[in-house]
């Protein structure tokens, strides 16, 4: 797929919480084809002091309307400026970037595990898999009830299980302790979230011989393979997360 730079128009900016929002963007040219797991590099140029682009996952794609959306969590100045965008504003993006999640090869339960902003790519992935005839379930972890977002959206794609650190909704504790991971035979797990969560999920999968793909959020300068800053140590040596990833099978990772 050819990568390119586009000026996208903000169709809507749905504020979810004081630090989460969903931006819907449209292009006046035909959008490139996106695969689940891919990301884009966004220019946060309304934020003085933001120099590099910011990597953001493709959260949802609407081919018919030539739009796609991003789930943004405000972390610093760049994401803050994205949070403040209004319909009609423009956003300069470099897309599409990265590899994609692979299709499940074995039969059995498929679980998509997400934590915090890591749930972003899993909506697109879930819809894609459902479309291909796979049945999926979500296991989403949040800090507490007030930080739970988008359950309705994800529920329309697959059953949603929740954990919160304080047990204010769903099961209490970390995702890896959720009963759904014990009750049934799981063949494949897709995971995106904070590093400790992905490590815990990877350990669990290794122990139980579950195929597992994780999506990494390494610091990136370019996003398309020319700076070599985003590397992760794999069985093949250091590779770029932005071109060989962000999705990796845990077998490859030297975690």
């Amino acid at each position: 797929m050819t990568k390119r730079v586009d000026n996208l128009k903000v169709v809507s900016n749905k504020i979810l919480t004081e630090d989460f929002c969903v931006l819907k963007l449209e292009s006046d040219q035909k959008l490139p084809e996106f695969r689940p797991g891919q990301f884009v590099q966004v220019k946060a140029d309304r934020s003085p002091g933001t120099f590099l682009r910011r990597p953001i996952s493709v959260h949802d794609v609407d081919i018919e309307n030539n739009t796609y959306s991003m789930l943004i969590q405000v972390l610093g100045k760049g994401t803050e400026s994205l949070y403040k965008l209004k319909p009609g504003d423009y956003l300069n993006v470099l897309h599409p970037l990265g590899n994609a999640f692979s299709e499940p090869v074995m039969n059995g339960k498929i679980v998509l595990i997400g934590g915090g902003t890591g749930i972003a790519p899993l909506l697109f992935l879930g819809k894609y898999l459902k479309n291909k005839g796979f049945e999926i379930e979500y296991l989403l972890g949040f800090r507490n009830k007030s930080r739970v977002i988008l359950v309705d959206e994800y529920s329309s794609v697959g059953k949603v299980h929740l954990t919160t650190e304080d047990g204010s909704i769903g099961e209490k504790g970390f995702v890896t302790h959720h009963s759904v991971l014990k009750s049934q035979k799981i063949s494949m797990i897709y995971c995106c979230g904070p590093d400790p969560m992905m490590h815990a999920v990877a350990d669990l999968c290794r122990k139980n011989s579950i195929i597992c793909e994780v999506s990494l959020e390494n610091l990136m300068a370019c996003g398309f393979g020319i700076c070599l800053c985003c590397i992760v140590d794999t069985t093949r040596g250091n590779v770029c997360t932005c071109t060989e990833g962000p999705v990796f099978n845990i077998k490859e990772l030297k975690w």
Partner: protein, 306 residues
Amino acid sequence: MVNLKVNIGDLCFKNPVLTASGTCGYGPELTDFFDVSRLGGIVVKGTTIEPREGNAYPRMAETPAGMLNAVGLQNKGIDYFEKHIYPEISLFDTHIIVNVNGSTIDDYVSLSERINRLDKIPAIELNISCPNVKRGGMIFGTNLDSARDVIRAVRAVYKKKLIVKLSPNVTNIVDFARVVEEEGADSVSLINTLLGMAVDVNKMKPVLSTVTGGLSGPAIKPVALRMVWQVAKAVKIPVIGMGGIMNATDAIEFFLAGASAVQIGTVTFIEPDAPVKILEGVEKYLSEKGVSDINEIIGYLIKQIK
């Protein structure tokens, strides 16, 4: 029609806009965005004799109007380059320049000898200024005697155009440029990155795995311009300028200060088509100013201020 051709000795570049080493991959990474054969040249990634894994993650930190990197010369080595990369990139209709690195003088010499045999590589850029490796690199570029030794040794074996890339982390850049000239190199390029550091106050630790790294981007442009100006006044060999060039205006500042060509670095991470946009902008500036040949503005400030 504006003439954009510039020369390093008898090597003619169709225009003075090149990519900078370590910021453009090998060229093919940019073909989605523009035809790299339009550029004056491509300086490919820092290359070493043996394959290298580079430094541990994290390797970069954003800084005000710039970034720090600590890549540390990750590359697959000269064998892989010769076998898998060279055949592809030698098809580009532009000069391919290899950025040559090593830990010892012998490393530099053997690598230069190897590259001397590659027909489609008309020049090397001797990198004695990498701040991100423990041995070699900047150690050569911050000591006049070591710099002289490595340049002399490479000059003895490398028969095509030899460009030497200088480190800005020195008291007197002109001393180093003079050594480059005295040892018979064909050109001097500058600046490599400034040694810098970033700290994460939440984690209370350095951002980079290596603690310090190389600062690039517009933040360093004033320093780069000053050094290009100082060096261009002092030596007769052509100077290749770089450091924080973001647009055509920046590039023209370098030409006026004395650069015969420029290299486009960090901006390409943000605007992948920046090199060609800058080339177009330079051409536009010249025609608007009624200048018919880029060589007329190269070093204009030096002629003006005595």
